[in-house]
Symmetry: C2
Subunit: 123 residues, 2 copies
């Protein structure tokens, strides 16, 4: 494991440690390939990465077409929890899992903070 | 215009009338084709419909892969506003535009209410 990947994995583990509403996270490339993951072992990282990049890409086009300004994040809300997709710099997407009743204000603050660190390592 | 389309258009116009945080809406088929729209005239309904269906379809797979339960809705947050995608019965998707600082609790209540009426007309 390269030093960068090890640092990125630490960032993801720390995200769960500082906010108990966060249940897992992964960094994927904007091309849809896995970079590193702190998701549960039964999750297929390849599928999650491809889906994250696809949703982000189409959403960036959608906010443009519908005059919503620059994309900040995407929330995919399921009954049992939320998937949050956001940019982490030019090259990466952060996919974060949160509890269904998560305090989203704090979750967004922690996501923004870690995204900046990811960007520093990958941009 | 068929009677159903006229009723659906009235539902969309009413959605904006009852909630000033809602700035427009459209009903699209799950296959990605436009059904009816109360979006501004400069929006390309065909592109919005195709993108809405694509995002919803991939998101339904994502909540399944990431054990988030049944998909409730997708929020695409831009700096100048929010796009909310949700099912309106078996055949349709409701795409709603809201202000960036919208009171989302009330917006969701109005979306749920109109989605049930859309489902009654289209299912």
């Amino acid at each position: 494991m390269s030093e960068n990947i090890s640092e990125l994995t630490d960032l993801l583990r720390n995200l769960e440690a500082v906010n108990s509403d966060i249940q897992g996270s992964a960094i994927v490339s904007v091309q849809g390939l896995p970079i590193c993951s702190a998701l549960s072992r039964d999750v297929n990282d390849g599928i999650v990465s491809a889906m994250s990049a696809a949703i982000l890409s189409v959403s960036e086009r959608a906010v443009q077409e519908l005059a919503r300004g620059i994309l900040q994040r995407i929330l995919i809300e399921g009954i049992d929890g939320i998937i949050i997709l956001s940019r982490a710099g030019e090259n990466a997407i952060l996919c974060t899992l949160a509890k269904p009743d998560a305090s989203l204000g704090m979750v967004f603050i922690h996501i923004t903070s870690v995204s900046k660190k990811i960007a520093t390592l990958l941009d």
